[in-house]
């Protein structure tokens, strides 16, 4: 088996590949080499061509020109099945398992080993799956149903499935976007195991720290063009960002000093049995308060109870001095509260509806003329915010689903900022969006706070918490355990509080 030093012959390569869709040149003369035993990062902003490149490797798209080389030989994949048979597996961000089947059944779906009379050999299925899990160093029972598995576990199942096909190249498309710190750590150790066995891993992530932690080399794309392929050792994060965005990103965390005013949001002893208990805090006008903690600490649940989509069992929420009726988002909105939820696709947006209808949804009373909804007013409201947030779109009547993740997030922000809130709660505002848009969102939050908005920001992204917050509240197992002022907030101090002990988390 190949160990660490890259073998001189790449297992999979692209040479001068171009691909256009109509007038759009998604890839232009792009080259990439993947060596056995390496973890190779693919970096670039949304729309840089990463997905098209993956699809060219996975046999979904056939390049217009250029070659795909497998073990140095040109190959043509006629479909994903060809690529899979050649040992190329793609692990997507959100795996698609059959929820009612067990892990083992999912892995061997459609190709179960048979016994006499065509009966499925359950023992063999079970044993092989158990072997795969051991090889990955993961403790998952083959008999467990896929329903109820975390996204992280589902990815492991997908990886096991890839291994069962003897995959030599693993392409991972933003696998960590929905993972917690410890889940990411486990995924990385699985990747190390695969590398040690000689597999090549192509890794896509918006989190630069992960790229530096996991990968040896990086290829950067920008606007469909190849920018660079180089060892990560020789790079800094700033270098990489510069290659991705093509300019210096002046500041990822442009926190402005804002004048802190009176209390806008006051949460007093809020409790939801079994989820969180006795949570009290204030957020003042002009402040950005971060709510940090591990996934599962109850941060999202607190936000949802404050906004009223969940009902609290005890405690009260005051906005601008008036106590909110519990369990009523409508009352919360009327009082000036806005919540940008973590799950954009399920909760933030109605994916099938247009951009303008999504933005209009929070202001159905405001886009009326003589009692009826006016399409013109609805359009204007959306157009106004699209300009203010520099939304990139074709037509406001387009379905919001065609936008990139970053632009979808801008639509969610627009939808809520259009209500003119006094308090804005944002839950993981920059998860899964590219670094350029991330900086834009940060600049927006900062200037909103400077204009007197009270911002409560839930984030698992520690640099974001440290970079943006005036104060950091930390939750641990359903309780607020620390309040750290900006001056003394460090990744270490936040993490120590979040883990409930004085040690750094695994990630």
């Amino acid at each position: 088996m190949n160990q660490s030093a890259p073998d001189p012959a790449p297992v999979l390569a692209l040479k001068g590949v171009s691909k256009s869709f109509g007038a759009v040149r998604a890839l232009q003369d792009v080259s990439l080499q993947l060596f056995p035993g390496e973890a190779h990062a693919l970096a670039g902003e949304n729309g840089a061509g990463k997905s098209t490149l993956i699809k060219a490797l996975a046999g979904v798209h056939r390049p217009d020109s250029g070659e795909v080389l497998l073990d140095g030989e040109p190959v043509v994949f006629h479909g994903p099945a060809d690529a899979r048979d050649a040992g190329i597996a793609v692990i997507y961000q959100e795996p698609t398992l059959f929820p009612d089947l067990s892990i083992a059944e999912n892995i061997f779906m459609g190709r179960q080993p048979r016994r006499a009379l065509g009966r499925i050999d359950r023992k063999a299925v079970h044993a092989t799956t158990a072997g795969l899990m051991r090889r990955l160093g993961v403790d998952l029972s083959p008999d467990r149903p896929a329903r109820g598995l975390s996204i992280a576990d589902q990815q492991i199942v997908e990886i096991a499935k890839a291994l069962s096909f003897d995959a030599r190249v693993l392409i991972m498309d933003e696998p960590t976007a929905a993972l917690t710190g410890s889940e990411t750590a486990r995924l990385f150790s699985v990747v190390q195991t695969l590398r040690a066995e000689g597999a090549a891993v192509l890794f896509i992530s918006h989190r630069l720290d992960e790229i530096f932690e996991l990968c040896q080399r990086v290829t950067t794309l920008r606007d469909g063009r190849w920018i660079s392929s180089e060892p990560l050792e020789e790079l800094t994060e700033d270098d990489l960002v510069r290659r991705m965005v093509g300019r210096d990103l002046d500041d990822l965390y442009p926190k402005q000093e804002a004048e802190v005013g009176e209390v806008a949001l006051s949460v007093h002893r809020l409790t939801r049995e079994g989820v969180f208990r006795d949570v009290s805090f204030d957020v003042r006008r002009g402040e950005i308060v971060a709510l940090a903690g591990l996934v599962g600490a109850g941060r999202t649940e607190v936000a949802q109870a404050v906004f009223g989509v969940d009902r609290a069992d005890a405690g009260e929420v005051k906005v601008g001095g008036t106590v909110l009726r519990p369990g009523s988002p409508t009352a919360a909105m009327a009082a000036g509260l806005a919540l940008v939820p973590e799950d954009r696709r399920q909760r933030g947006l109605v994916m099938d509806l247009s951009i303008e209808r999504n933005i209009g949804l929070t202001g159905l009373d405001e886009v009326r003329k003589r009692g009826l909804v006016s399409r013109a007013l609805e359009h204007d409201r959306a157009a106004d915010w699209a300009v203010r947030l520099q939304l990139k779109y074709n037509r406001l009547a387009d379905s919001v689903g065609v936008l990139s993740g970053g632009n979808q997030q801008k639509v969610v922000l627009a939808k809520w900022l259009a209500t003119g809130p006094a308090v804005l709660i944002v839950d993981e505002p920059t998860r899964g969006i590219d670094v350029g848009t991330k900086a834009e969102v940060h600049r927006l939050l900062s200037s909103l706070a400077a204009d007197g908005l009270a911002v409560l920001m839930i984030s698992s992204d520690l640099p974001e918490v440290i970079g943006m917050a005036d104060r950091v509240l930390v939750m641990h197992e359903g309780r607020l355990v620390a309040e750290i002022p900006r001056a003394s907030a460090t990744e270490e101090s936040v993490m120590a509080a979040a883990t409930g002990r004085n040690e750094r988390a695994a990630a």
Binding site: F21, A26, G47, L349, V350, D352, L364, N394
Partner: protein, 347 residues
């Protein structure tokens, strides 16, 4: 512009494709309706007479009236299978109370109240108990029909005064037109429903609820209250349809309108309202219900047996659900083939 295709856009653009076809589908049903009318006028004697048109449309007045709130329900991702039973209950109550000597002016409000109560029960079970509307209304389908039998047994009450019956029958038309009063009522209600669905905040909310209920709730839309309201309105309309049905046939029976729920739902789906919710236009639903009515009339005029009519309705429904999807699949496949065809190159 972020125009570069990426993985995330693929399913969404497919969804918008399906939707644009669905939007064209309602136009297609409208065109089909006109075509059937033209063919009917040319091929079938007596079809175009105002007496026949009055009869044809009056004959589906109850189905058409119930189809209006049903459209709103289906757009919001719900369904009510108990509508025909509520029609039967309305009819049976009308008969039972009339027999008991009540004044007709008192009977109608009572029947409407019962419709509201039935809708409240459906809505309460769906929104407060959290059961799926399909399951709830299968139950109340049996319940309301059972209550109708309790109210009137297997009797028929037929001695309604002529003045009321005259209001509903097809021989009484709005002067100078072939429109009967129940059809006129339908037209007014359809106009109101169209405005509600397509030009009010409530209508906007219905599409959001049907497409993604959770996102609608997170946007501050009162999802439960709105669903409850829809079930109540549906119960109200169904009970009133029971009164119309009773007067039109001059006969109150517990089994009136048996199986009408399928006709109502078939009309709505035929009109391009997506059973998964979130898509459709009221124009499509109205075109769907009129198409079914006209076809039924044409088949009857051509002496085609009732069984065949049921089969035709069924086939039409399957076709209406299938066709947009087939077209979408074909179009998508063609797109994909175009995308995968390598550009000419020298090798």
């Amino acid at each position: 512009m972020t125009t570069a295709p990426d993985t995330k856009t693929a399913p969404a653009s497919r969804a918008s494709l399906v939707r644009s076809l669905a939007l064209r589908w309602d136009t297609a049903v409208g065109v089909l309706l006109v075509a059937v009318l033209v063919v009917g006028l040319g091929s079938t004697d007596g079809f175009g007479s105002s007496e026949n048109l009055a009869f044809a449309f009056n004959d589906i007045a109850e189905v058409a009236i119930i189809a209006l709130p049903m459209t709103l329900l289906v757009v919001a991702g719900q369904v009510d299978l108990s509508v025909a039973s509520m029609l039967g209950l309305g009819s049976a109550l009308t008969g039972a109370l009339w027999e008991a000597g009540w004044a007709f002016e008192t009977i109608v409000p009572v029947v409407l109240l019962v419709g509201v109560a039935g809708g409240l029960l459906n809505g309460w079970l769906v929104t407060r108990v959290g059961l799926p509307s399909l399951a709830v209304t299968i139950g109340t389908l049996a319940l309301y029909r059972g209550l109708a039998s309790v109210a009137l047994g297997s009797d028929a009450v037929t001695d309604f005064p002529q003045t009321y019956a005259d209001w509903a029958v097809d021989t009484t038309t709005v002067p100078g037109t072939f429109l009967t009063y129940p059809v006129l009522l339908f037209i007014v209600l359809a106009a109101v429903t169209a405005v509600v669905l397509h030009a009010t905040g409530l209508g906007r909310s219905l599409f959001a609820i049907g497409a993604q209920e959770e996102a609608a709730y997170f946007a501050g839309i009162r999802v439960k209250r709105i669903k409850l309201l829809l079930f109540v309105v549906t119960g109200l309309f169904s009970a009133f349809a029971g009164v119309i049905f009773t007067l039109r046939y001059g006969s109150a029976r517990a089994d009136n309108g048996l199986g009408f729920e399928m006709l109502v739902i078939a009309s709505v789906l035929l009109g391009g309202i997506d059973f998964d919710g979130g898509k459709g236009t009221l124009f499509g639903a109205v075109a769907g219900v009129l198409l079914i009515g006209v076809l039924k009339n044409l088949l009857t005029l051509n002496d085609i047996a009732n069984e065949v009519q049921v089969i035709v309705t069924g086939l039409l429904l399957v076709a209406s659900v299938l066709t947009p999807r087939v077209i979408a699949t074909v179009v998508e496949r063609r797109h994909r083939r175009a995308a995968n065809t390598p550009a000419p190159q020298s090798t």
